[in-house]
């Protein structure tokens, strides 16, 4: 799911559980997750594989 979809579900769950203070915190996490998903090491199944330099024993 997209981060926006995740946040909508998480917000609804927080409200349903009676923890509205959680919502601004979840919004902060959403920003961090958006950045994480933009990192250049992430794979996409329809694109070229990313080089995993950290475990490339030839380097």
């Amino acid at each position: 799911m997209t981060v926006a979809q995740w946040l909508a579900l998480a917000r609804a769950d927080a409200e349903q559980r009676g923890v509205p203070d959680l919502i601004p915190v979840l919004e902060g996490l959403a920003k961090a997750t958006t950045q994480l998903r933009a990192a250049d090491w992430n794979d996409d199944s329809d694109k070229d594989l990313k080089d995993d330099e950290a475990v490339d024993e030839d380097q």
Partner: protein
């Protein structure tokens, strides 16, 4: 007082462990009501052990430089027969049935345990404000945080309530309070010091290590905390500053600094250059991703550990820590895996930054100790959240696992300590300590 100063006197019998321990306990009685460094004070046991140490020493049995020396233990670490509260009412009934491995090693080295120190609840914070046993206060300015999560430990050493202490560091929790309180903190290489018997925050990021009044004292504690086969008899010699190769981590770790912190750290770099150190700039290409990688890993790991008690007794957590743990439960597995993939990339980049240098250098803490209750602090580039600033300079080396040490390098005009951080190669903590001894001496004589 430093361990290095007192240990020879204790060994020679010119001062007793009992006397030193009484002094520490008196300091605790005097200052702890205000600073709240300790959750549990084990005065009777400490004095009994101190007297026993004096008898052992008088009888010719000497266990080493920690024999008879009063030490405190962060209340995340088991000491047999005493509570391990983790700073939380969730664990208020808990009594440790055995020593943590690190506790046992220090006990075997003859250390005297004066008590368990206050912390940010479950080590899940950087200010020691959120504790089920009341917030802790900075001894340099009690209206400010001592840093965290090992805040009580740092206070104890900075004030002489104990001569050394054991803390833990998941994102900076040894180095941050060391910097905020003006003492030395060593986060060893990951896995070097056993975490068995230590309440976890994130097992893949947790480190156990010492805080002390000097690099030499930190080394003495670290040495005793290691497995027997890894210990050495002598303190390493200081490295020569002339020719010391220092890689300054430019960019991210200097981008969001308080002006006094920047001035002090840059001034120290100039001092080192003046003494003949070779200083080059190095960078971490994925530095901007460090915070988000760290966040997803620590949240995922914390969510697992606290899953049951967050359901069964949420009211026993402090409100802020409870909120963060609630947030942690929403991290998706796919994002946790993304963060797992980023971790070795950052580790490789730190290794690469270390190529051709002896140590890396950067600030230990972006800001001086923040006021209690502060949500943001002003830094170069604008105000930033306190939590983000507190973790910024230290968390890279929890992800990478490299040994890293915070040591004092100056003060603000109002007397708040400023800390410098040195990062060493994996497998070469000895060399890191040698460099730190040299840098400490340069700073002391500047």
């Amino acid at each position: 007082m430093k361990i290095s100063e007192l240990a020879p006197k204790v060994a020679a019998g010119t001062i007793t462990s009992e006397k030193i321990t009484e002094n520490c306990l008196a300091t605790i009685a005097d200052l702890n009501p205000k600073l709240n460094a300790f959750i549990t004070v084990t005065a009777d046991q400490a004095l009994a052990r101190a007297r026993q140490a004096d008898q052992e020493i008088a009888g010719g049995r000497r266990l080493g430089p920690l024999h008879g020396i009063p030490i405190s233990i962060k209340d995340l670490i088991d000491v047999e027969g005493t509570p391990t509260t983790a700073g939380s009412l969730v664990r208020k009934e808990h009594i440790a049935t055995r020593d943590a491995v690190v506790t046992r090693r220090l006990r075997e080295a003859g250390a005297v345990f004066v008590g368990k120190t206050n912390l940010h609840e479950f080590a899940f914070g950087t200010t020691s404000e959120d504790s089920g046993f009341g917030l802790a206060r900075n001894p340099h300015d009690p209206s400010r945080s001592p840093g965290g999560s090992s805040g009580g430990s740092a206070i104890a050493v900075a004030t002489g309530m104990s001569l050394g202490t054991v803390g833990t560091d998941t994102g900076g929790s040894i180095r941050i309070p060391a910097a905020a309180c003006g003492i030395v903190g060593l986060k060893p290489e990951w896995g070097r010091i056993s975490a068995t018997g230590v309440v976890p925050l994130s097992r893949q990021l947790d480190h156990v290590g010492p805080l002390a009044a000097s690099v030499a004292d930190a080394w003495t504690l670290y040495n005793a905390m290691q497995p027997t086969a890894s210990r050495v008899r002598e303190l390493p010699d200081a490295a020569a500053v002339k020719g010391l190769r220092v890689g300054v981590l430019a960019g991210y770790l200097f981008d969001r600094l308080d002006a006094d912190v920047e001035r002090s750290v840059l001034s120290t770099i100039e001092l080192l250059k003046g003494k003949g150190a070779t200083v080059t700039e190095v960078t971490l290409p994925h530095a901007n991703d460090i915070a988000t990688v760290y966040l997803h890993l620590v949240l995922g790991d914390a969510a697992e550990y606290h899953a049951r008690t967050l359901e069964s007794r949420p009211q026993d957590y402090t409100p802020n820590v409870r909120l963060r743990l609630e947030m942690a439960r929403y991290v998706l597995a796919e994002d946790y895996i993304r963060a797992m993939r980023g971790k070795p990339i950052i580790a490789t980049e730190v290794d690469r930054a270390l190529e051709g240098v002896d140590v890396l250098l950067c600030p230990a803490l972006s800001i001086p100790a923040p006021p209690l209750g502060a949500a943001t602090m002003p830094v170069k580039g604008g105000a930033e959240a306190v939590r983000t600033l507190m973790l910024r300079c230290t968390q890279p080396f929890n992800l990478s696992g490299h040994p890293a040490m915070s040591l004092p390098c100056g003060k603000t005009p109002t007397g708040l300590p400023i800390g410098l951080q040195l990062v060493g190669h994996k497998g070469r903590t000895h060399a890191l300590v040698q460099a730190a001894l040299a840098v400490e001496e340069v700073i002391a004589y500047s």
